[in-house]
C-alpha cells in the first residue's frame, strides 16, 4: 500500500479552481459595481467624490472609506501577528520577557483597527495614531531582536539558523500593520478637495508601493520556510508565486500615474486574500501530516506549519485593495 509522494495534478487543478472560484465570489460585489459604473460612464473617473460608486454611503467621503479599508487591512495583519507570535513565542516558552511585547502591541493594534473600521468620522484619532506608531516601532525593534538571535548562534546567518532561529521577516508584519494603520489616519484626515497624501506622496500610489514591498517580503519569508519543508507539497509554491506577481502588479500601478483603474490588479488582490485565508486550511492539513495528526494537536500545532501565518497575505492584499479603491475613488491619489 503506497501513496504517491506528490499531490496529483487533479488535486492541484481542483485546488486552483477552488481558489479562483472563491476569489471571484469575493469579486462579485465589485463586478456588480463595475457593471453599474460602466454604463454610460467614461473610463476615467473625473469626479473627486463619485456618488455612483459610493452608492448609499453618500455621507461618507471616499477618504474615510479608504481609511476604513486600510484599518481593516492593518487589523487583519495584527490578528495574524497576534496569533502567530502567540503560538511561536509560547513555543519558545517566553524565555525572554520581551517576547510578550508583540502580543500586547498586536492586540492593541487589532483593537484600534476594529475601532477605525467602525469609525465614520473624518478625523484621525490620537489613540489609533499612537498605537500604530507603537506597532511600527515594535516591528523595527523586533526585527533587531530576531537578527541578534540568529547572529549569535554558531554559523551566524547560515541556512540552519535562518530556518530554525527566530524568523527574521516575521516582526515586519507588525511593522507593516503599523505603517498601514498610520497611513490610514493620514488618508482619513485629508480635507475635502485635497488629494490625500502621505509624506507628500499621493496616498493611493504610496500605499500600493508599500503593499508591494510588504508582499515581496512576506513571500520571501514563506519561501524560506517552504524551502525548509523542501516544497514537499506543490501547493507550497503558491505563496512564492502569486504574491510576487501581485507585488509586481501593484508596483506597476504605483508607477503608472494618476487617474487609472486597475481591474486586473484588483482581481489579483482578491485572489491573494483568498489564498491567504485558504492557507490556514492548507496549514491545518500540514498539521495533520505530523505524528498523531490533530489528535495530538497540542504538540503538532506548535510543531507543524504555523496556522496564523498565511492570513498576513490576506491583510496585505486588503491593503492593496484599499489603495486601489482610493485611486479609483480619488483619481489623483
Amino acid at each position: 500500500m503506497r501513496r504517491s509522494n506528490g499531490v496529483t495534478a487533479t488535486q492541484i487543478a481542483l485546488g486552483l479552481a477552488a481558489l479562483a472560484a472563491s476569489s471571484s465570489l469575493l469579486d462579485k460585489r465589485s463586478l456588480a459595481r463595475a457593471r453599474k459604473y460602466r454604463t454610460g460612464e467614461p473610463k476615467q473617473a473625473k469626479a473627486v467624490y463619485d456618488n455612483r460608486i459610493l452608492g448609499g454611503k453618500l455621507d461618507v467621503p471616499a477618504t474615510v472609506t479608504a481609511a476604513k479599508r486600510l484599518n481593516r487591512a492593518a487589523g487583519m495583519l495584527a490578528l495574524s501577528v497576534l496569533a502567530d507570535s502567540g503560538v511561536e513565542h509560547y513555543r519558545g516558552s517566553f524565555k525572554n520577557k520581551a517576547m510578550f511585547t508583540p502580543l500586547i502591541v498586536s492586540a492593541a493594534t487589532l483593537g484600534v483597527s476594529v475601532h477605525g473600521t467602525a469609525d465614520r468620522r473624518k478625523a484621525a484619532h490620537i489613540m489609533r495614531d499612537t498605537t500604530y506608531l507603537l506597532a511600527a516601532t515594535t516591528g523595527l525593534i523586533g526585527t533587531c531582536f530576531h537578527f541578534y538571535n540568529v547572529a549569535k548562534k554558531a554559523g551566524g546567518f547560515s541556512w540552519q539558523n535562518l530556518f530554525y532561529g527566530a524568523p527574521l521577516g516575521a516582526p515586519m508584519a507588525i511593522l507593516l500593520s503599523g505603517l498601514i494603520g498610520f497611513c490610514s489616519e493620514r488618508v482619513r484626515e485629508t480635507p475635502r478637495g485635497i488629494t490625500p497624501s502621505i509624506f507628500d506622496l499621493p496616498a493611493g500610489r504610496a500605499m500600493a508601493a508599500l503593499t508591494s514591498v510588504g508582499l515581496l517580503g512576506t513571500a520571501g519569508e514563506a519561501g524560506l520556510l517552504h524551502f525548509r519543508g523542501a516544497f514537499h507539497n506543490p501547493f507550497m509554491l503558491l505563496p512564492v508565486t502569486l504574491p510576487p506577481l501581485g507585488a509586481a502588479l501593484l508596483a506597476r500601478t504605483a508607477a503608472a500615474g494618476p487617474g487609472r483603474r486597475h481591474p486586473f490588479v484588483r482581481w489579483w488582490m482578491r485572489l491573494l486574500v483568498t489564498m491567504g485565508l485558504a492557507g490556514v486550511g492548507f496549514h491545518a492539513y500540514g498539521v495533520s501530516r505530523n505524528m498523531g495528526g490533530w489528535r495530538n494537536w497540542s504538540q503538532n500545532v506548535l510543531n507543524g506549519p504555523p496556522l496564523p501565518a498565511p492570513p498576513s497575505f490576506a491583510g496585505l492584499a486588503l491593503a492593496g485593495l484599499a489603495a486601489l479603491g482610493l485611486m479609483r475613488d480619488h483619481p489623483d491619489a
Partner: protein, 521 residues
C-alpha cells in the same frame, strides 16, 4: 506480495535484505526480474512492533553465537549487525555520507590500502539516486569534496549536542556541517516527519527513518519481489558446471531448497564469508568464490572512539537523532597527519542504558559511582569518530568447529589493530579533546575502545587473483553468484558505509540489467 514456488527457479535469490540486499531486491524487481529475498530475521512493523525500550529493542541485533579473538577482539551485536528484514539499517544511525573521491583509488592516489574497480564519478551518480530514494535531509551546501546535488530534504534543527560540536569546530577553525541523515524533515507519502524521539539506534517506531525496511522493501514488493523472512540460509548449492543452482534455507523448523538462476549473497561482512565458506563442496573445497583464498580476509571495522565531557548547561543529547552535526575535516585534510586514511567525528546522543553501559565498560563505574555519574546524564556531551582502519589479511572470518542452533558452523572473527589504526585513533582523541576543551566542557575523558561497521572479507577488484568479485559484484569463480554488501569494500574510508553499499547495489542492478540485455548473465 507475490510468492514464488521453491521448485520454480527464480531469476535471483538474495540472501539478506539490508542496505545491500534490500536495495538490490528492489532495483532488480523494478528491472523486471523475479526475485526472492530472504532474511534470517523477522519482518517487523515498526508502528506496532517497536517499543521505547532499549532492552526490548535488542531483538533487532544479530546476537547468535560467534567467537571473537585477536589482539583487539570485536564486540559483536548492536553497533554492527542486524537480524531483521531491512538488516542493520533498521537500527542504523541514519548517517548517509559519500566517500571521498580519492578513496576509490587510495592505493594509487594516497598510497595505502587497495584501489576500487569503480570510478568515483559513476558512484557520484548512484549516490544521488540513493539520496533521493531515501529523501536524505542534509545541508544546502556540503563543505567538502566535489559538487553534489542538493539534498532532497533540508537539514534538521541542531540539538544542543550538535551545537557543542559546531562551537568546538568554530573555535578550532575547522569546518562543520549538519550531518546528512536518512530521517524525514518533512512529510513523505504516509510517513510523518521525524519527531525527535531519539530512539533511532534502537529502531524508529514512527517510520520517519528511511531504512531499507521502509524505503526499498515496499518498492521491491510493489515491483513483484517476494520477501521471505525468518529464513536462515545455510548453504548455497553449486553444481559441477561451476554454477549455483539455489540455496538451502531453514524456515518453519525444516530445511528447504529454493531454486534460482542467480544467487546473491548480501549477509554483511561476517555472515557473507561464513555462508560462502559453509557452502564448500568437493569441487570448491575452500568455499565458494574462493579461488583467490581471500574470502573472509581483509575484514575491516571502523574505529569508533569517543571523547566525553560535562557541560555546565543542560545538553540533553538524547533529544533527536544522535549525530546531527559532523566534521569531515580530517577526511579531506591530508596535512598534519601521521597516519594513512581519515576520520570524521559526530555529535553523540546515547540513550540511558547505553550510557550506563559505556560508563561501566569504559570507566569501570559501578554502584554509587555509577549512580552519581548518571545524575550528570543531562549535561553529558560527546564527540565520536568513524575512522578508517586499514585492510589486513590477518583480520579475518573463518569457521569455528562449534555449531549454532541450525547446526551450522559459527564464524570465528579475528581482529587486531595495526600501528596506523592506533595512530589515527590517537590523533582523533587528541583533536576531539581539544574541541571539547574549547567549549568549556569539564571532566573530559576518552573512550578508547569501540568499533563499528563491518566491511571487507570479499573484496572487489580487477584481478581474479587479488579479489573475490569484479566491479559488478559478480564472483570471478561462479558466474551466477554475486556478492552485494559491505563485504566487497577494498577499503572502508572514514565515513559510515551504508550509502556506499546502497549505491553499489543500485549500480549492480543496472549492470545486471545491461548484461541481461546483452545475454551475458
Amino acid at each position: 506480495m507475490r510468492q514464488y514456488r521453491q521448485s520454480e527457479p527464480v531469476d535471483f535469490v538474495i540472501v539478506g535484505t539490508g542496505a545491500g540486499g534490500g536495495t538490490l531486491a528492489c532495483r532488480l524487481a523494478e528491472h523486471g526480474f523475479s526475485v526472492v529475498a530472504m532474511d534470517a530475521g523477522p519482518y517487523f512493523r515498526p508502528l506496532e512492533d517497536f517499543a521505547s525500550d532499549e532492552s526490548e529493542q535488542t531483538k533487532l541485533y544479530w546476537t547468535d553465537d560467534r567467537i571473537v579473538d585477536g589482539a583487539n577482539p570485536l564486540q559483536m551485536g548492536g553497533n554492527n549487525s542486524g537480524k531483521a528484514v531491512g538488516g542493520s539499517t533498521v537500527h542504523f544511525a541514519m548517517v548517509s555520507l559519500r566517500f571521498r573521491p580519492e578513496w576509490f583509488k587510495s592505493r594509487s592516489l594516497l598510497g595505502y590500502g587497495a584501489d576500487w574497480p569503480l570510478d568515483w564519478r559513476e558512484m557520484w551518480r548512484y549516490y544521488s539516486e540513493v539520496e533521493d530514494a531515501l529523501k536524505i535531509a542534509g545541508p544546502i551546501t556540503y563543505p567538502w569534496g566535489p559538487h553534489r546535488p542538493r539534498y532532497p530534504y533540508r537539514a534538521h534543527e541542531l540539538n544542543a549536542a550538535a551545537r557543542a560540536l559546531a562551537d568546538g569546530c568554530e573555535a578550532l577553525g575547522i569546518q562543520w556541517t549538519e550531518t546528512p541523515i536518512a530521517t524525514l524533515s518533512a512529510p513523505r507519502g504516509l510517513a510523518h516527519p521525524c519527531v525527535y524521539r531519539g530512539f533511532c539506534t534502537s529502531g524508529c517506531s514512527t517510520n520517519a527513518k528511511q531504512s531499507a525496511l521502509v524505503t526499498w522493501i515496499p518498492r521491491a514488493i510493489a515491483a513483484g519481489a517476494e520477501i521471505r523472512d525468518l529464513a536462515m540460509v545455510g548453504r548455497i548449492e553449486a553444481d559441477n558446471s561451476n554454477l549455483a543452482t539455489g540455496v538451502h534455507y531453514h524456515r518453519d523448523g525444516q530445511w528447504r531448497f529454493q531454486r534460482a538462476r542467480n544467487v546473491v549473497v548480501a549477509g554483511y561482512a561476517i555472515e557473507t564469508p561464513r555462508l560462502l565458506l559453509n557452502s564448500a563442496t568437493d569441487r570448491f573445497p575452500a568455499g565458494l568464490a574462493n579461488s583467490s583464498g581471500l574470502v573472509g580476509k581483509n575484514l575491516m571495522v571502523q574505529s569508533n572512539q569517543a571523547v566525553w565531557g560535562t557541560m555546565e548547561r543542560e545538553v540533553r543529547s538524547y533529544k533527536g537523532p544522535p549525530s546531527l552535526a559532523i566534521t569531515e575535516h580530517w577526511n579531506y585534510e591530508d596535512k598534519g597527519k601521521d597516519f594513512f586514511g581519515g576520520y570524521c567525528y559526530m555529535s553523540q546522543g546515547p540513550l540511558p542504558q547505553l550510557w550506563a553501559n559505556t560508563l561501566l565498560s569504559a570507566r569501570g563505574l559501578w554502584g554509587p559511582h555509577l549512580i552519581s555519574e548518571m545524575e550528570n546524564y543531562n549535561h553529558v556531551v560527546g564527540l565520536k569518530i568513524v575512522g578508517e582502519m586499514l585492510p589486513q589479511e590477518a583480520n579475518r572470518v573463518t569457521l569455528a568447529d562449534e555449531t549454532d542452533q541450525y547446526g551450522l558452523r559459527i564464524p570465528r572473527i579475528t581482529y587486531s589493530w595495526c600501528d596506523n589504526d592506533r595512530r589515527l585513533i590517537d590523533h582523533s582523541l587528541a583533536f576531539m579533546t581539544e574541541a571539547l576543551e574549547a567549549v568549556d566542557a569539564t571532566d573530559i575523558w576518552r573512550q578508547n575502545d569501540d568499533t563499528c561497521h563491518l566491511n571487507g572479507t570479499a573484496r572487489m577488484g580487477n584481478d581474479p587473483l587479488t579479489s573475490v568479485v569484479n566491479a559488478d559484484c559478480r564472483s570471478w569463480d561462479i558466474r551466477n553468484l554475486w556478492i552485494c554488501d559491505g563485504s566487497v569494500f577494498p577499503t572502508v574510508g572514514g565515513v559510515n558505509p551504508s550509502l556506499t553499499i546502497q549505491a553499489i547495489a543500485c549500480r549492480t542492478a543496472d549492470r545486471i540489467k545491461t548484461m541481461a540485455r546483452r545475454g551475458e548473465l
